[in-house]
């Protein structure tokens, strides 16, 4: 059985959804408080879930980055451990420098909360390997600061290393500007392809009853 560790900061609010989703996929899930200094030794996947850690004070993810547990996260990630940051978790990974770029306020200045289509851009990684390039999935987004910024040099690097995972799109796959993100980027990974970040919430799309289950195909990648 795969062991998933989910981090919890003050203001995190997706840890139980994340736990539910991974348990549904047959994983053993443990939630770890930010004051802890070590991760469970058997961790196969570390998830930094969504929410509003530290009230998004200063910048989203800026304070969480300095939590006690983050030293262990840095060490786990640099040893090749698999890390997935969802929404606020993605913002924390950016602030921690574990992924390149930064988040700005959505260009509409509105909080966006709805199902949105995403196109798979690269699948040569453990996260999206169950999907095909060009596949379109329908996954909820819920964020205020999801306007991904990276400079031109950085963008070229992401492109040439196949680090762009997902882009926002219309139902038919056409380009869509959801929130002002550079190149409509919704999710990226690091060069080594063990650290993943995305603004949409795959853990909220695992039941047809709740609007769709495209998230299963995404999260499954880590275990198949």
């Amino acid at each position: 059985m795969m062991n998933v560790t989910v981090l919890q900061f003050p203001g995190t609010n997706c840890e139980y959804d994340t736990k539910y989703a991974f348990e549904k996929l047959g994983c053993n899930v443990e939630i770890i408080w930010h004051k802890d200094t070590t991760l469970p030794e058997n961790t196969d996947l570390l998830v930094i879930p969504g929410g509003f850690s530290y009230g998004d004070y200063l910048r989203s993810g800026a304070i969480a980055r300095f939590a006690n547990i983050m030293n262990a996260v840095q060490e786990y990630a640099s040893n090749g451990g698999k890390v997935l940051g969802i929404c606020n978790g993605f913002q924390i990974l950016l602030e921690a420098g574990l992924l390149p770029g930064a988040m700005k306020r959505n260009d509409s200045l509105h909080f966006i909360s709805k199902f949105n289509y995403l196109k798979v851009i690269n699948n040569d990684n453990v996260f999206l390997k169950e999907l095909n390039i060009g596949d379109i999935v329908n996954i909820p987004v819920a964020h205020h600061d999801g306007n991904y910024f990276i400079d031109e040099t950085g963008l070229k690097e992401l492109e040439s290393n196949n680090q762009i995972l997902l882009k926002y799109c219309e139902k038919d796959g056409n380009e869509q500007n959801l929130n002002g993100s550079v190149s409509q980027i919704a999710g990226i990974c690091n060069k080594e392809k063990n650290i993943f970040g995305l603004m949409p919430h795959p853990e909220r799309a695992i039941e047809q009853l709740l609007g769709g289950d495209d998230g299963i195909r995404m999260l499954q990648g880590f275990f198949k």
């Binding site: 300095f66 602030e95 700005k104 306020r105 200045l109």
Partner: protein
């Protein structure tokens, strides 16, 4: 003494809040006088530093580590008092 730190998006990084505020000022009748609007934040820090030079160095360190995200933001430090 006190440090007044101003943090704002870098020139060249689109400031959507500044743009929206600029538009609002235009519609309020300030179109002729307003050339550009940039929005940032001000952080005021009370310090125990022994000199202005040391204070400046310490606050610079704080900006690099936490107060600004230098991927998208610039900062200015003023030491007063």
């Amino acid at each position: 003494m006190k440090a007044i730190v101003n943090v704002a998006l870098k020139q060249g990084v689109l400031d959507d809040q500044g743009k929206a505020t600029h538009h609002a000022l235009d519609t309020l009748g300030f179109k002729e006088v307003v050339k550009d609007v940039r929005i940032g934040k001000q952080i005021v820090i009370e310090l125990n530093s022994s000199s202005k030079e040391i204070a400046k160095a310490e606050v610079t360190n704080m900006c690099e580590k936490l107060l600004a995200n230098t991927v998208i933001e610039d900062y200015e430090i003023e030491i007063v008092g």
